[in-house]
Amino acid sequence: MLRRNIIELRNLTKSYNDTVVVDAINLLIRENEFITLLGPSGCGKTTTLRMIGGFEDPNDGDIFFEGTRINNVPPYKRNINTVFQKYALFTHMNVYENIAFGLRIKKVPNDEMKKRVQRMLKLVDLEGFEKRHVDSLSGGQQQRVAIARALVNEPKVLLLDEPLGALDLKLRKEMQIELMDMQKNVGITFIYVTHDQEEALTMSDTVVVMNNGVIQQVGSPVDIYNEPENRFVADFIGESNILEGIMHEDFLVSFSGRKFRCVDKGFSKDEPVDVVIRPEDIDVTSPEDADLQGVVSSVVFKGVHYEMLVESGDFEYMIQSTDMQPVGAGIGLKFGPEDIHVMKRGSDNEK
């Protein structure tokens, strides 16, 4: 499916007091996409979002909305709305007034306003809550009011800055599913910020991994997980074994003192590389018919599987397996060419 671009960031840069917080990022966001900015705390996600929303002026670079540059357009003219992390509900108004706030400002006639607010209440499943004081609502309900308030203006893009950050785990999971449904129903673009990689992988069409104000990788959740572009992404998304190796030729890499067949190509001859092997891709076998031999140094039960650390040569492999091996057991490690992922050397993309 080919979708039109709705937002484009070009060379977008922001610094506070000479500290560069967002560093010349380029990003294409398509219509109806659920796109997530993912990265560790302080990496510039909120700042990026606030520039898109119009609350911060970039120091450099441009923001395009449907092909028009909107750097100098005030927030309320951007056709973009925001759900704030702490909801930012008007505590002195009831649910109805909160949702109707913008419509009143725009002098929307009373009966139309009523209709639109009702539609929103239905969408977020809060019918009958009109008269309730927002302070009397639970966290999840307040969150829904905030979403209803943001959607009632029928924006084309909704910005959500860690909207589930304040909720407990169970409610979080429920709201994740509801948010995804809502996005499908209203059919608008969601730009979502989180530092929870699991949340990002669950909900998004596209994940943007950021670190230190620089985009590390843009891709679908599957790509991001299976084909991390660098050590940072591999490390940040899920558990992984990251080893240093040498790419001898296409489809042949060596690490841990051995040569392995792999499915990667396009490196120069004998180029130093980083190699990623996911813990769940390593099979435990008897030492004789294995690629590598090692000794189990610790075992932790994780519910679905056991997580074992296995010392082999001077590297400690993490392995996830449903079969437990006792500490001190000598075992073999086995993985196929498609389980080996080769990346360019260097910890992350830097300017």
Binding site: P75, N81, A88, F90, G102, I105, R149, A150
Partner: protein, 433 residues
């Protein structure tokens, strides 16, 4: 009802301690009996004569016999003694009731064949269960004498003719007059006019002085807190200065500044050709001056307080409003003002009550002047409290002063009670973090 409880109860009604003796609580019974005997022998005659004095307020006035003054009855002292005697009698009656209930209860225990407490048991009981009451007793007694006596005294004065020139002890006697003073306040034209006029100005004054300080404070707080303002701390310190100087000094300085003839303000106005303004001499201007000076003294308090409230309003509320297209004015009226009002309404009502009784400012700045010759010992800027002061300390019109103070008391009590209930509901709603 059993035999013992009936008899013990009846006996202890007859004389304190008898019931306890009947219940074979010898020590307790003796103590109670001695207490009643002592009261009857030593205090009762005196109590009765004091209460009689309270009723009559004396009947022999001071006389001159052969050029020598012979002391008569002092009505006011008699009134105070009477009040104290009533309180002592009241305490005795309370003790008597406790005594009867105790005898009855112990008797009932005997009827039900339960154990009767020995003296030691009773003491232990008292120190265990009654410990809090024991602790509270001294404070309770102090309150009775230091708060209830003056309060009762003040209220009673309103029902007498205690005033200069004809009813001022020790020269002459004071009499009870019933509700006559209250009737007079509304029926005697000069009094009624004074009261109505002063009450109206007091309300206008309390409202305007609170309102102006509140809004000017709010405006300054908003301006200082605006992002564009640099040197926030500097401005805040400058504006807080008038508040840091002791009030009466500022007021006296202001009184000189606004002086009609010699004041620098009028000198300056004259020099630039506007001419002197009768700041303190004409009723309207004097009232305006009061409000201006109070504004100058009072707004820093609200400014400081509301700066705090403003910084407590989360920034994203404004951002959320601005996405919806609210401009600066709409943001102020729909977010800032309601949030600040919710947070400070109790203080505003308190401020109203404070200004209602802001004696210091009025008395020091204008002394109630300019005088109003249609008023009963009062001027155009007098508020009820300063009128009260003049009535008592300058004119010895204690009876009318008492009436006015009862009215003020009732009014302030209503405001405070209202405020208290509102404050609680505010807390529950938890408006601003």
């Amino acid at each position: 009802m059993g035999r013992h409880s009936k008899r013990a109860g009846a006996l202890s009604i007859l004389f304190m301690g008898l019931g306890q003796l009947y219940n074979r609580q010898i020590i307790k019974g003796c103590i109670l009996a001695v207490a009643e005997a002592l009261y009857i022998i030593m205090l009762l005659p005196y109590t009765l004569s004091c209460i009689k004095g309270l009723v009559t307020l004396g009947d022999t006035p001071q006389r001159m016999v052969n050029g020598k003054i012979i002391q008569g009855d002092h009505s006011i002292f008699m009134m105070v003694y009477g009040i104290i005697a009533i309180i002592v009698l009241f305490l005795f009656v309370v003790l008597y009731i406790i005594n009867v209930r105790d005898a009855f209860k112990v008797g009932k225990n005997r009827d039900e064949k339960k154990k009767v407490n020995s003296y030691k048991d009773s003491l232990r009981n008292l120190s265990e269960k009654g410990f809090v009451y024991l602790l509270l007793t001294p404070a309770g007694v102090f309150t009775l004498f230091l708060t209830v006596v003056p309060l009762a005294f003040g209220v009673m004065i309103a029902f007498t003719n205690y005033s200069s020139p004809n009813h001022l002890p020790p020269r002459s006697l004071v009499d009870w007059v019933g509700f006559q003073n209250f009737i007079n306040l509304f029926q005697i034209p000069s009094l009624g006019k004074t009261f109505a006029g002063i009450a109206r100005w007091t309300l206008i004054w309390a409202f305007l002085s609170t309102f102006t300080t509140f809004f000017v404070g709010l405006v300054f707080a908003v301006i200082i807190n605006a992002n564009k303002i640099v040197l926030k701390k500097f401005w805040r310190s400058i504006f807080i200065l008038p508040w840091a100087v002791p009030g009466f000094i500022s007021i006296l300085i202001m009184r000189n500044m606004f002086n009609g003839q010699f004041g620098p303000i009028n000198k300056y106005l004259t020099s630039i050709g506007i001419g002197a303004v009768p700041w303190l001499a004409e009723p309207f201007w004097a009232q305006t001056t009061c409000i201006l000076v109070n504004l100058w003294l009072g707004f820093p308090y609200y400014m400081a307080m509301m700066s705090g409230v403003l910084t407590g309003i989360p920034r994203d509320l404004y951002e959320a409003a601005s996405i919806e297209g609210a401009n600066a004015r709409q943001q102020f009226f729909q977010i800032t003002l309601p949030m600040v009002l919710f947070a400070t309404a109790p203080l505003v009502i308190n401020g109203f009550a404070y200004n209602f009784n802001n004696f210091t400012l009025i008395y020091l700045l204008t002394n109630g002047n300019p005088a109003n010759n249609q008023y009963f010992y009062a001027g155009h800027t007098d508020i009820l409290l300063s009128w009260l002061y003049k009535l008592t300390l300058e004119q010895n019109q204690y009876h009318m002063a008492a009436v006015v103070s009862i009215i003020i008391f009732v009014f302030i009590t209503i405001i405070s009670a209202f405020n208290y209930m509102r404050t609680r509901s505010f807390k529950e709603e938890d408006m601003v973090q």
